[in-house]
């Protein structure tokens, strides 16, 4: 089984404050990992570091394969003048690739269909509800055919229907061999989800695995 992620003794500091202190974890293909913990526990810092957005102060990070990252909904600029499809297709961009192909368009539209937002393709994102915009971000992530998918609080504020759509899509990509790492502060978000491993973070360290 291919290892998609290996984090060893990761330490992340903001100035003098240590947000993550010696965390080690792995994620294999087709594996689902939930990272939970209270606010300020260091879980969002951890996933940002895995996404390559924060440098490790010490320790090492190894990733293999294509990665997609879904940031927290709160990070989104709701007022940005863009259509849903314009946002989704950016998920197919990669280093060294400047133009979209016909295949990219197809993959973006397929991802939108899977998430039930195909009809919203031409809508401006400022007119979408919170749940619809979260699905746009997820469609953007999966249309890049990721082998490692990182989700930061994807369930926050989702209605029951969107929650079900989200986990159906995740199960689908897990079965395709993608490893999924999801941060959630609310353990009830993953009630009834049988697959996956839970890592609890407290004070920047792993408290339960």
């Amino acid at each position: 089984m291919t290892e998609r992620l290996r984090l060893s003794n990761a330490v992340i500091k903001y100035g003098d404050v240590t947000a993550v202190n010696g965390v080690s974890m792995t994620a294999n293909e087709g594996e689902m990992i939930f990272i939970t913990g209270s606010n300020g526990s260091g879980k969002s810092t951890l996933i940002k570091a895995i996404a390559g957005l924060l440098p490790l102060s010490s320790g090492s990070l190894e990733r293999t394969g294509k990665m997609s990252y879904v940031p927290q909904y709160e990070d989104a600029d709701r007022d940005f003048p863009a259509r849903a499809f314009e946002i989704v297709i950016t998920g197919t961009q990669r280093h060294g690739k400047l133009f979209y192909t016909h295949d990219d368009t197809e993959r973006a539209l397929t991802a939108m269909k899977e998430l039930g937002i195909y009809d919203l393709a031409d809508k401006e994102i400022r007119t979408l509800s919170g749940g619809q915009l979260r699905r746009v971000f997820l469609a953007r992530a999966i249309c890049g055919n990721p082998e490692l998918l990182l989700l930061d609080e994807p369930c926050a504020g989702l209605d029951a229907q969107s929650h079900e759509v989200l986990f159906n899509v995740i199960r689908n990509i897990l079965s395709g061999g993608c490893a999924v790492v999801m941060v959630t502060h609310d353990i009830s978000d993953i009630d009834g989800i049988s697959e996956g491993r839970i890592i609890k973070i407290s004070g920047g360290r792993i408290s339960i695995q």
């Binding site: 996404a51 390559g52 957005l53 990665m67 997609s68 990252y69 940031p71 990070d75 989104a76 600029d77 940005f80 003048p81 863009a82 259509r83 314009e86 946002i87 950016t90 961009q93 990669r94 280093h95 400047l98 133009f99 979209y100 401006e124 953007r140 890049g144 990182l150």
Partner: protein, 268 residues
């Protein structure tokens, strides 16, 4: 009307019209990115640094662009670097650099007795546009529009969410550098025509107006270019009719279009 047609028979008028239209359209297209990335003040900061360097070149009696171009380029890199490194300090860096540069420019021109030359740098002059400036603006426009078309998808991604772009393995600092270089080029090329005090308006006002009307990013870029072109042509004509500096005419025309767009939008 006849007066306007007569005006076009003067070479300096059509030079100003062509050079200004090209620079305005390029500035407004870049302005879309600067406005959406909350770098609206960068044009203002760079133009005042340009003013200081023009004062210095006038005092030293060396060609203006030899001092202005490198100064503005270096300043744009510094401002972008500070904005990236310290996310909240970008506006502080711009405010500090621009007011210090303006003060230095005024001091140099007063001390060296060249203050009378400064009026055309501050407020712009259509008479100042030479054949070389026209050629420069054509080349510059070709570069800006070509870069924008080739990098359109990338610039959209980085403008919307830089963190997400970085997570895809894209070198966002490189694209930031390109935006800095293009902005510096536009500021240097536009300073003579609209004046250092007003070039930032040419960069941001059309994008702000287009944001009210347009739907989607592509439409925003196109609308911004069209609005800028219309505002420049009619602003320049108005500046001849009312005998005011070209920069003032263009900016006031942009402001008028912005107000009309806002009022029409509110009524809908």
């Amino acid at each position: 009307m006849n007066e306007v047609i007569d005006l076009l028979s003067y070479p300096f008028v059509y030079r100003a019209l062509i050079a200004g239209s090209l620079i305005s359209v390029c500035a407004s297209v870049l302005g879309v990115i600067l406005v959406l990335k909350h770098y609206s003040l960068i044009g203002h900061g760079l133009s005042e640094i340009g003013f200081a360097s023009l004062s210095l070149s006038s005092a030293l009696k060396i060609p203006a662009m030899y001092v202005a171009a490198p100064s503005v380029f270096i300043a744009s890199f510094v401002i972008m670097f500070v904005s990236r490194k310290y996310k909240t300090a970008g506006d502080i860096a711009i405010a500090a650099a621009s007011s210090s540069a303006l003060a230095a420019g005024i001091a140099v021109s007063s001390l060296t007795g060249t203050a009378s030359n400064m009026s055309s740098y501050l407020f712009g002059s259509v008479l100042a546009v030479t054949e070389n400036d026209l050629l420069l603006s054509v080349i510059l426009s070709f570069i800006v529009i070509s870069v924008f078309i080739v990098l359109y998808n990338r610039l959209f991604l980085i403008t919307y969410n830089e963190d997400y772009a970085r997570s895809l393995g894209i070198n966002t600092a490189f694209y930031q550098l390109i935006i800095s270089v293009l902005t510096a080029m536009i500021v240097v090329a536009g300073m003579k025509l609209t004046g250092t005090l007003l070039i930032s308006g040419v960069i941001i006002l059309p994008a702000v107006t287009a944001k009210i009307i347009a739907s989607g990013f592509r439409s925003l870029v196109i609308m911004s270019g069209i609005i800028s072109f219309i505002a420049f042509v009619f602003g320049l004509i108005a500046s001849f009719i009312f005998n005011i500096p070209a920069g003032a005419g263009v900016i006031l025309m942009n402001t008028m279009i912005l107000i009309i767009a806002r009022v029409v939008r509110l009524k809908k």
